[in-house]
């Protein structure tokens, strides 16, 4: 079978899984639904591997295949095919997506068991995998947009999975609307591409673009900026990032899968995919890199003060995606993709561990209330530590290699690109601090009640769950973890998934160690062969960079240790000392408020103005005015109809006189 056939199978399997679970939601036993879900994604992963093998069988220069099922929409001069494009980049993404998804499915199989919405969950989750695979395998911009929107929708559906929580539904809405804004950016970019080139297919677009555009042509910059809107919205880059922290309202596996490992990296994929365009528009690429850098630092600063367990990880995701965006924007494509992969491993691991803890805490996520879990949940604790190490780029972990490859590429490229490297190291320091702040606060300290109970009895029993944000009682009937909670310590599925990811997070970096091997770069080589950005030899820079990275990571972890373990009183003291800065950071730089003030409120104001004033005065006013004129004319006619026959005679003669006058005038 050819690579594209495998590709179609990869897409189709999760879709079938989703439909089967969805249609059979009454008939299927819960366990079967879970198995179907896991199986579908597992098979998809297997097919991805098969696709990889099939692709590797081709000579390097012909490792790209397009395939179309049918004319999707072909009329009026537009030709949109239902087609996929298989090349090393898409295969790489498909592997990462289906692989991580498979593990997270396994995790969810256990984690979600106490949830009434189990089948719905798996149906959506499978649908998400389908959408994400569609996104990465799409063969043209329109189908890319379709996949793009599908993941956005599934993201919405899963964020507001517990739809009886108002916070969850609001967060879902926010995510969806911001994502739609991104979609519009893509759509407009597609229009512009079509206007210039008349096609939507990747191959044709990328082949024609260099002939059509000159470097930094205004149009190509516009196209790339529009693509960037899409990428930023999906990858939660500033200023479109506000939805991601709120998205943590969803179940934890969702956060792991969608909001860490796969969907939020779609922007990175997009830039890498469209790199022939971005290289024609260096201005746009630079904008993108700057945004990435800014995001990684701002997100890092916020992560330091946030107290919500999952939100800390979410901000760290923002920050890490910032690295990737920065990387692919400055031309470090394979480094960016490499970081994407390792990030998928350690970030999902982190979320899984967090999920385990949250389950034990009955959905309490405030780290002020969590402490001392190191002995109550040793396996989870270990995973959390491994994840954090990889995240902060502790030497020899996967994150260490991937992050530093990006930064060294930046410094190697020289010029002002060095600034990106510096920003990256600053970010890395912040990463070390906040990730170990989390580790130390959660694992360290005195065991709290839940931890104690767990240690004493081996299980936790909670009362009626309540939403900490609103105080509302959760509606467990429609799907919210009930009294029975699943933690990694006791659920084999969770343990397997986390164990596998821990291994990958620790050792995933070995596929690409500077000077030793470069599997990822080599594999992706055919895709990026046309790249014009090839800096001079980077090995030296890389080793130097690795050294700095290691130091920075140590420093970060050290600071965290100092603040939270060695001198526990320092952090609150600093908070007091720098109250203003703390508040500023704690309110997430007031982005939400700004968006609310600048966009949401004006729209509502216009709407209510339209409702109260415009509709009544202008729209109805025109009609009422016309009606009034007619009615008052009727009044005049009726007043003339006074009943006095002599008045009628008068009018008759008046009409006569008028008519006669007219005729006299005509005759003269």
């Amino acid at each position: 079978m050819s690579a594209t056939t495998w590709g179609w199978l990869v897409i189709l399997l999760p879709l079938l899984g989703s439909i089967t679970i969805g249609l059979g939601f009454r008939a299927l036993p819960e366990r079967a639904a879970g198995l179907i879900g896991v199986g579908a994604v597992g098979l998809a992963f297997a097919c991805s591997v098969a696709m990889l093998i099939s692709l590797l069988g081709d000579p390097a220069e012909s490792r790209h295949h397009a395939s179309s099922l049918w004319d999707y929409a072909n009329a009026g001069g537009l030709d949109i095919q239902l087609g996929i494009y298989v090349d090393p980049l898409s295969v790489f993404m498909a592997l990462v997506v289906s692989g991580v998804s498979a593990l997270i499915h396994i995790y969810s199989y256990s984690y979600m068991q106490s949830d009434r919405g189990y089948r719905r969950f798996f149906s959506f989750l499978n649908f998400f995998v389908f959408s994400m695979l569609l996104l990465v395998l799409a063969g043209n911009f329109v189908l890319l947009i379709v996949g793009w929107a599908f993941v956005g929708f599934t993201s919405y559906a899963l964020i507001s999975f517990w739809y009886r929580r108002e916070t969850a539904t609001k967060a879902g809405m926010k995510a969806f609307v911001i994502n739609v804004v991104g979609d519009i950016g893509l759509v407009l970019a597609a229009f512009l591409i079509f206007r210039e080139l008349g096609v939507f297919n990747y191959e044709e677009v990328f082949a024609a673009a260099p002939h059509h555009f000159t470097t930094n042509d205004g149009t190509i910059v516009a196209i790339c900026c529009l693509l960037l809107i899409g990428a930023f919205a999906k990858s939660a880059q500033i200023p479109f990032h506000t939805w991601l922290p709120d998205a943590m309202e969803g179940p934890t596996p969702v956060s792991a899968l969608i909001h860490a490992a796969t969907m939020v990296t779609a922007g990175v994929y997009l830039i890498a995919r469209a790199h022939p365009l971005f290289e024609l528009a260096p201005t746009a690429a630079d904008i993108s890199a700057v945004v990435g850098a800014v995001t990684l630092i701002i997100a890092g600063t916020i992560a330091i003060v946030v107290t919500d367990l999952k939100r800390i990880i979410a901000y760290s995701t923002l920050s890490q995606v910032g690295y990737m965006i920065m990387g692919v924007s400055i031309g470090a494509y394979s480094a960016g993709m490499f970081h994407l992969m390792t990030h998928a491993f350690f970030k999902s691991l982190l979320f899984m561990a967090a999920g385990s803890i949250i389950a034990a805490m009955a959905n309490e996520q405030n780290i002020d209330k969590i402490s001392g879990f190191r002995r109550a949940m040793p396996f989870t604790g270990a995973c959390l530590v491994i994840g954090s190490l990889a995240l902060s780029g502790f030497p020899s972990t996967s994150g260490f290699f991937s992050k530093d490859e990006i930064l060294s590429f930046a410094t190697a490229r020289g010029g002002w690109y060095t600034a990106f490297g510096v920003a990256g190291y600053v970010g890395a320091l912040l990463t070390g601090i906040y990730s170990f702040r989390l580790v130390f606060r959660v694992l360290g300290g005195e065991p709290n009640d839940e931890a104690k109970e767990l240690m004493d009895t081996g299980h936790v029993v909670h009362g009626e769950p309540r939403n900490p944000a609103t105080g509302q009682a959760e509606d467990t009937e429609v799907g919210y973890p009930g009294a029975e909670h699943h933690i990694a310590e006791q659920a084999p599925g969770m343990k397997i998934a986390m164990g596998a990811l821990a291994v990958l997070a620790l050792f995933g970096g070995i596929v690409q160690i500077p000077g030793l091997d470069d599997l990822v770069t080599k594999f992706l080589e055919p895709t990026f062969a046309d790249s014009v950005i090839v800096p001079a030899d980077t090995t030296g820079h890389e080793w130097f960079g690795l050294a700095i990275g290691g130091v920075v990571a140590f420093a970060g972890i050290g600071i965290a240790y100092f603040l939270y373990i060695a001198r526990p009183g320092t952090a609150p003291a600093l908070e007091k000392r720098f109250q203003g800065i703390h508040d500023f950071l704690f309110h997430k730089w007031y982005f939400d408020e700004a968006i609310d003030f600048l966009i949401y409120r004006p729209t509502i104001a216009i709407g209510s103005f339209a409702n109260r004033v415009f509709e009544r005065i202008v729209v109805d006013g025109v009609v009422n005015g016309a009606t009034d004129v007619v009615r008052s004319a009727g009044g005049v006619v009726k007043a003339a109809q006074s009943g006095f026959v002599r008045a009628y005679a008068l009018l008759l003669f008046a009409g006569f006189a008028g008519l006669a006058l007219y005729f006299l005038i005509v005759s003269s």
């Binding site: 009727g634 005049v636 109809q641 005679a649 006569f656 007219y662 005729f663």
Partner: protein
């Protein structure tokens, strides 16, 4: 001095002879008591015979009796409309209190007299027969309007009609005198030649004559601002007579309007068409806005008649064959639409306590759909909605107007129709979208009271007796249903009626040449 008797074509004047003879026979029944009940049937017979003779003469245009009359397809077409209306009026007049008051024989004789006037008018081919025909039409109507002698309103309407009508006649007469004076002849053909001759065309004497003639005819056709008698008289007159006036008078007057203006004064059309167009526009506006919010259905139809007269005048304004076709077509369908409406109004008048007030038809859709449907169709037709003949009629008129470069008047028609929806649909809404338990209850209560205490009912002069079964009387429901059916039929298959009216148009324009 030799006496040169005119040639009399008895075939040609046979409709008039039949009507005259019928009139005399019907009048006899008033004298001979045992025959009293036969008057309506004799009237119907007369109308039927006249109609038959008319059909016999269809398609054979000829001048009669020294050019005093001309029988042609235009005359016959309008005569048929008048005859049909009159026949329907006879049916609607069964058990009408006005008939009891006036005496059946006299009532029907007067009706026939008016029809005779119409027969003369539509055929009139010189000024004198024009005037006599018009008066023969009008004078019986003045009386008929007042025949419901017990009702003050009936008397008032008769008197108002008489006074204003006589004013109109006097003005018309004066105008005719001036037309005669400027052309030197009373014969339409001679006038046409005279008008076209040098020195007369555009002369103020002629034009003032035209103005006054126009006023007189506009008055008869209820064109604003000479319309003010219409709502009052329509409301006050006995309803069958109102229906007769609404259609037949208008039709006959429009016929002579066509014959006189398009034929005799055809050469002057460049001067009078703008003036008439303005009158038409005023009528459309005044009629439509006046009808808004009228509670009396007859009054509403009176105003609506003013507006419709404005539409129809459009057919005259363009002075073209297609204009006349359109006008005749519109008159024909106007007959059906009005008839359906008035038949229902008569039925409800006798059945409910509200007379012709709009409340009398509330809830009719649920209670008596066989009455509600005709009235609904009539209202939709008058409003000019599709699948009724009213739509085709407006289409015809607008087409003639646009072709005659009077598009602005066509726009007036469109805007007027729009306004008219408000009052036509008010009736429809009353029938289908309201329920009327109270009205029915009151009516029933009143009916029982009336049957129990005839003496009191007789003593109360304003109250007409209630006939609870009026809604299902065949002589009321039948015409209503037939007219409604015709309205729909000609809305879907208008071709027969189109050809009918084309005959009429050709008749007049073959004279013009």
């Amino acid at each position: 001095m030799t006496f040169d008797p005119p040639h009399i074509d008895y075939a040609g004047i046979s409709p008039i002879i039949a009507l005259t003879a019928g009139l005399c026979v019907v009048l006899m029944t008033a004298v001979f008591n045992p025959l009293k009940r036969t008057a309506p049937f004799l009237t119907l017979l007369t109308l039927g015979v006249t109609g038959g003779l008319g059909i016999w003469q269809w398609g054979e245009p000829k001048d009669l009796i020294a050019n005093a009359l001309r029988i042609d397809d235009l005359a016959l077409a309008i005569l048929f409309i008048c005859l049909l209306t009159a026949a329907a009026t006879v049916l609607l007049s069964f058990r009408e209190p006005a008939v009891e008051n006036a005496g059946s024989g006299e009532y029907h004789a007067l009706l026939l007299g008016s029809v005779l006037g119409m027969a003369l008018l539509v055929q009139a081919s010189n000024l004198i027969s024009f005037f006599v025909g018009l008066e023969t039409l009008s004078i019986p109507l003045y009386i008929l309007c007042a025949t419901n002698l017990r009702q003050e309103r009936s008397l008032e309407s008769g008197l108002k009609y008489l006074i204003v009508g006589s004013l109109g006649s006097a003005t018309l007469l004066y105008g005719l005198a001036f037309v005669y004076g400027s052309t030197g002849s009373t014969d339409f053909g001679e006038i046409a030649r005279g008008v076209a001759s040098d020195g007369v065309l555009g002369d103020p004497l002629l034009l003032i004559g035209i103005a006054m003639t126009g006023v007189g005819l506009a008055f008869k056709t209820s064109v604003a601002p000479f319309h003010q008698w219409t709502p009052d008289v329509y409301e006050g007159a006995p309803t069958p007579i109102t229906s007769f006036m609404a259609v037949a008078t208008k039709a006959a007057a429009f016929c002579v309007f066509i014959r006189f203006f398009d034929y005799a004064l055809g050469a002057e059309s460049g001067d009078w068409n703008v003036a008439l167009a303005v009158l038409a526009a005023i009528s459309i506006v005044a009629g439509n806005v006046g009808a808004l919010g009228q509670d009396s259905l007859k009054r509403m139809l009176g105003y609506s008649g003013v507006a419709q007269a404005g539409y129809m005048l459009g057919g005259l304004v363009v002075a073209s064959e297609s204009g006349v076709n359109a006008l005749v077509f519109y008159l024909a369908i106007y007959l059906f639409m009005n008839l359906a409406a008035f038949a229902v109004i008569v039925a409800r008048e006798r059945q409910s306590a509200y007379g012709d007030d709009i409340r009398s038809v509330e809830g009719l859709g649920a209670e008596q759909p066989h009455l509600a449907w005709p009235l609904t169709i009539a209202m939709l037709g008058l409003a000019g909605l599709p699948l009724t003949a009213g739509f085709i009629g407006k289409l015809y008129l607008i087409e003639a107007l646009v072709a005659g470069d009077f598009t602005w008047l066509a726009v007036f028609i469109a805007v007027g129709s729009m306004i008219s929806l408000a009052y036509y649909l008010r009736v429809v809404a009353a029938m289908w979208m309201r329920s009327a338990p109270q009205a029915e209850a009151k009516a029933k209560a009143k009916a029982t009271k009336a049957s129990n205490m005839p003496a009191i009912a007789g003593a109360s002069p304003e109250a007409d007796p209630i006939d609870p079964r009026a809604g299902s009387r065949i002589y009321l429901a039948g015409p209503a249903a037939l007219a409604a059916a015709a309205t729909v039929f000609f809305g879907i298959i208008p071709q027969p009626l189109v050809e009918f009216s084309e005959h009429a148009g050709r008749a007049i324009f073959s004279l013009v040449g």
